[in-house]
Symmetry: C2
DNA sequence: CGTCATTGCTATGAAAAGTGTAGCGCCCAT
DNA sequence: ATGGGCGCTACACTTTTCATAGCAATGACG
């Protein structure tokens, strides 16, 4: 675990420009990260273990992601793990995506076994 | 490289429900995938090599992602690689995220060296 | 006090995914 | 036929992720 958390304004994995969208895309491309955000959508903070269980992530990975999210200013620890206002904004910005995924589900052939 | 592409309607990595949003979150969590989408935002299709260069991905990884995107019905190959209407919809759904990332960039402390 | 449950989190070893480079076979223009 | 671009594969290596075990701390209960 040695790569650093992507922060806008400086180089990130896969892009040397540091443009905000690049930092964001790098951040989101980390496994389970979006899922964690998603599971944190409720009002009440979650415990480490509850989060691990909800997001179906092993503790090691979860812990790395939590650090990245904290570094990105999207997460705080107070009576468990919860989102910052910025984190909540992100969640809101993700809303169209939820809609899209439903349309997608209808459009993609079941591709059954 | 053996995990299958996430398709809504059946179990994906990190979720056994197959709910659309879970399939989407799994898909997006794959390194470089969102970036590829992003680089494909122009009207003209890109060649494999142009895409590899733009997305800064090695050919092996790129090829895996392309297969996943095709399986998800978001990508087609015709005179290069381009997005399907569904893929374009996704890109549109990603738009708020671009806005968010800019606000984020302003809010996150430069965290300079 | 002991003990029991639950907490956040670290350790470990193995498997999977991603990286960077080289280069193949193909096609087309010269 | 030589040179260039193409899509893509092969290789050997590094990084990431996984699953499980388990530890130190905390708080309740008796």
């Amino acid at each position: 675990m040695k790569s650093v958390a992507p922060i806008p304004g400086r180089p990130v994995r896969g892009s040397s420009t540091g443009r905000p969208i690049m930092a964001a895309l790098d951040l989101f491309g980390r496994r389970g990260l979006l899922r964690i955000l998603w599971e944190l959508r409720g009002e009440a903070p979650l415990t480490f273990r509850a989060l691990a269980s909800a997001a179906e992530l092993p503790p090691g990975t979860l812990n790395v992601r939590l650090k990245e999210l904290k570094a990105a200013g999207l997460l705080v620890t107070e009576a468990g793990y919860g989102l910052t206002p910025m984190g909540r904004d992100l969640l809101a910005a993700l809303e169209p995506l939820v809609l899209w995924s439903e349309a997608w589900a209808k459009a993609v052939p079941p591709a059954d076994a």
